[in-house]
Symmetry: C2
Subunit: 138 residues, 2 copies
DNA sequence: GATTCTGTTACGATTATTGTAACAATTAAA
DNA sequence: TTTAATTGTTACAATAATCGTAACAGAATC
């Protein structure tokens, strides 16, 4: 499997929960649909649960379901819930004192990252889970 | 070093080239400023060169310099030149025929990725290398 | 009390990225 | 003409991050 697919899988899981008969199912069934391990599903669901996007019940006949209507879940919330990686990473380095670029580039790159991140997040905030579900059903 | 720092390093290199006395320098000097290997610098510079952002001369007293004025280099060009990873990756999986979500989610996720990518790239396109250089000099 | 879930942790396998080294090609300088 | 210094490229090892697997505690139903 490719790397950094947490967000993608999280959306898949939520769409699954939004489409399933009765509105709830188990991590095992979700894992089949996503084709990954039940354990990874549970780890991801736990994050979504902590973020208030998913409700779970433990114990026998425990299950997972959406905590909110799909119309009220934006993909930005999902992105943040699974703490997916940022738009890009800034390289670590020991600034060379004699080099102005080396000393100041980090702050400048952080500005660039902030703007890039904002652009990406603005797009994510405009898409709701309901949009994705509608797209899947069509 | 953290992963996926290609874009960040590429910007660092270009800022270095934009600031250096005389406008040109060698991969060895750049590597010192970035604190990475000269070889990785050369690989990255080669991509930037193929994209027309950097000019290089080989041979003894070979060197690298910006191919265009910093005002005319957008960070989107840099991003594309180093083929940095996309905003997120879509997980690979074998669609389960009985599951509508599993069958259709991929296309829906591709739509999401396209929009997210657009948001990110729009932000990058608005920042020029000159902006970053000004930020470093300040 | 047994069963069947979730939540969590630990650890190994896998994969992608980065570092290192080597060498050919190129050009200036000696 | 030879030498030296540089880029461009490749191959491979080292490193780091992600993902899969397994195990187990806690919880709730049967």
């Amino acid at each position: 499997m490719a790397l950094n697919t947490q967000f993608s899988i999280a959306v898949h899981l939520l769409v699954g929960l939004g489409c399933v008969e009765g509105g709830t199912t188990t991590s095992g069934h979700l894992a089949e649909s996503v084709n990954t391990s039940a354990s990874f599903v549970r780890r991801t669901l736990a994050k979504l649960s902590k973020a208030g996007l998913v409700e779970t019940t433990t114990g026998k006949s425990g299950a997972c379901g959406l905590a909110k209507k799909p119309e009220r879940i934006s993909l930005l919330e999902v992105y943040r819930a699974v703490d997916a990686p940022e738009a890009f990473a800034i390289h670590a380095y020991a600034p060379q004192k004699v080099c102005a670029v080396s000393c100041n580039i980090k702050a400048a790159l952080e500005n660039v990252l902030a703007k890039t991140q904002q652009g990406m997040e603005a797009s994510l905030s405009k898409i709701t889970l309901a949009d994705v579900i509608a797209d899947v059903r069509r």
